[in-house]
């Protein structure tokens, strides 16, 4: 198990190194001379003279070989220095950190909402296959995968904020503000998760232990909850890990509609503002978060499933 764990940690580290190289390349790939672009932004848009540019590049080591520049940059990044935003001049690390917290909050709320709906629905669908719940789960999954969530968000605001007046239409600050964006991201997820829970549970049903349980007179519902469900935890956890990556894809769009100050909106804004240091910061943070998440899911799977504990 220790070896397997080490293996996963090493992989996550290698992934992060690759992401960091991409992030480093991002500022260097930027159209135009990197030094000149950085200097222009420091000088509030005035074009620097050639001597000023040469001095700036010397002082900031932009004439050094790229690997050296990369190592120096990596050192700064590890020390928490992600540079400054072209747009606001604020430190990128601070901005990205605040936005990350908001996105994690929204993502976790969406995931929680989706699981709260999907698990009971999926289990019920597996128990009564072909019944109304099963059909509803199928329909939800089909719709959830087909409705563009920016469109859904527009309609949901009209319904829940304007017509019913239940929830605020945008912004953040209270729990009520989380509900609507989480609902939009969560709905589509819940369909996928419910369908998966249903199919993995259904696959377990023909197995011997289920037949044994039934023969012993264990009821269908307790059998499902106590015996079948735990055995589906490994694939379900793997799916949740996979979906966590998809959550952010949904968040990118939804945060913009709901003016939710998260990482997704920051990224879209930075791209439209050509704010390369912020784009770079977003990439690095996403890399860390997802490599970490993936590692966590792997470790959780090892802990849950004794069969995997020794393997991998």
């Amino acid at each position: 198990m220790a070896a397997a764990l080490l293996h996963r940690v090493l992989y996550a580290t290698a992934l992060l190194l690759a992401v960091s190289m991409a992030g480093f390349a991002l500022l260097r790939l930027m159209p135009g001379d990197a030094g000149e672009v950085l200097l222009i932004h420091q000088m509030a848009g005035e074009l620097p003279g050639p001597e000023a540019l040469a001095r700036f590049k010397r002082e900031h080591g932009l004439d050094d070989p790229l690997p050296l520049q990369y190592l120096r940059w990596l050192g700064a990044v590890l020390g928490g220095d992600l540079g400054r935003s072209f747009q606001t001049g604020d430190p990128v690390a601070q901005e990205v950190g605040m936005r990350l917290v908001n996105s994690v909050l929204l993502g976790a709320a969406a995931m929680a909402l989706a699981c709260a709906v999907a698990f009971p629905a999926g289990i019920a669908a597996a128990l009564w296959r072909g019944g109304p719940v099963d059909r509803a789960v199928s329909a939800l999954a089909v719709l959830g995968m087909a409705v563009p969530n920016f469109w859904y968000a527009l309609l949901a605001v009209l319904l829940f904020s304007l017509t019913l007046g239940w929830l605020p239409s945008s912004g953040y600050g209270t729990w009520a503000h989380v509900v609507l964006p989480a609902l939009v991201v969560g709905t589509s997820l819940s369909g996928v998760i419910a369908r998966f829970v249903r199919s993995t549970c259904a696959e377990e049903l023909p197995r011997a232990y289920v037949r044994t349980g039934r023969a012993k007179g264990v009821g269908e519902v307790p059998l499902m909850l106590r015996h079948v469900l735990p055995n589906t935890m490994v694939p379900v956890l793997a799916l949740l890990g996979l979906q966590a990556a998809r959550v952010f894809d949904g968040i990118v769009v939804v945060e913009t509609v709901f003016a939710w100050p998260g990482l997704g909106r920051l990224l879209v804004d930075a791209i439209l503002s050509r704010d390369f240091p912020v784009i770079q910061g977003c990439l690095l943070v996403l890399g860390v978060v997802y490599a970490g998440l993936h590692l966590a899911v792997d470790v959780a799977a090892m802990l849950v499933d004794p069969r995997i504990r020794g393997a991998v």
């Binding site: 719709l143 996928v192 998809r246």
Partner: protein
């Protein structure tokens, strides 16, 4: 053997392709108006005989724009899928048949890309190389090929373990011949199934990016962009937002149902090898 199932899946795929050609190639010819012609005197008209779905805020025929939209979003999505499918399948086949260190490195890269959030990664790529329709298409393909690489590799390994392929290899057939002759035809069906899944993903992603102003150029008949541009008038003229939205929903459902049907037929033959890879695939945008 997969022949019957895969063959019928291919026939269904071809039928779907014919419908797609009709939608993209022929339907726009039947549009009642030029989708780009502005008529300021005819702004925001209600549906009527002249304009079956009314006109938008610049007096353009909504129905004609929707119909012409079949040439934007689905084609861009198709370009994403074809690029990803081509590159990913090639990489997966190579990894599966060459094996060894090459396989390990390729699969670690694939895994790495799949761990990261795809749409955000695509956005970053497009943002760095300059926004625009084709940059976005390539950026989406650049994160999506991994799905095909993984599937093609697994299928290749599975096929290569089958007796007839082992036999062919034992008889001294060169490995690439074996792959092209035996493996490729048998993995076509599951790849096609995955293609439908990624087509709907690409449609939603592309529409979402255009809605955010990161995809199609303003004025285009892209559906997500039409929704964004109609937002100012959606309260008094909800059809301007509902029509393109419902078109996307209908198209994506159709593509997904096609995918399910393909999967059922393919599974009928090849014992559902594709199943694992296709179910549980999330949606985005």
């Amino acid at each position: 053997m997969a022949a019957g199932g895969a063959g019928s899946a291919l026939r269904l795929g071809l039928a779907a392709l014919a419908v797609a050609v009709l939608l993209v190639g022929v339907l726009p010819l039947l549009a009642p108006h030029d989708p780009h012609r502005v008529a300021f005197a005819a702004r925001l008209l209600a549906p009527g005989p002249e304009y079956p779905l009314g006109t938008d805020h610049l007096g353009r025929c909504v129905l004609s724009r929707l119909i012409h939209g079949f040439r934007v979003t689905p084609l861009a999505a198709l370009a994403v899928v074809v690029t990803a499918l081509g590159a990913g399948t090639a990489v997966g086949l190579a990894a599966g048949s060459i094996g060894g260190a090459f396989d390990r490195v390729v699969m670690r890269v694939v895994e790495g890309i799949q761990i990261l959030p795809g749409l955000a990664l695509a956005l970053i790529i497009a943002g760095v190389f300059g926004l625009g329709l084709w940059t976005v298409v390539l950026a989406l393909a650049a994160v999506h090929w991994t799905e095909y690489a993984r599937l093609a590799r697994t299928m290749t390994l599975a096929e290569r373990a089958k007796p007839y392929v082992l036999g062919a290899e034992a008889l001294g057939a060169p490995r690439h011949r074996v792959v092209l002759r035996h493996v490729l035809p048998n993995i076509a069906a599951p790849i096609l199934v995955l293609g439908t899944v990624s087509l709907s993903w690409a449609i939603l992603s592309f529409a979402g990016l255009s809605f955010l102003g990161l995809g199609a150029e303003p004025g285009s008949t892209e559906w997500g962009l039409m929704i964004a541009e109609a937002r100012n008038h959606m309260r008094l003229h909800p059809r301007l937002v509902l029509a393109p939205g419902l078109t996307i929903v209908a198209l994506v459902i159709a593509v997904n149902l096609l995918g399910d049907a393909l999967q059922d037929r393919a599974a009928a033959g090849s014992a559902g090898t594709a199943h694992r890879f296709v179910t549980g695939k999330g949606r985005t945008s």
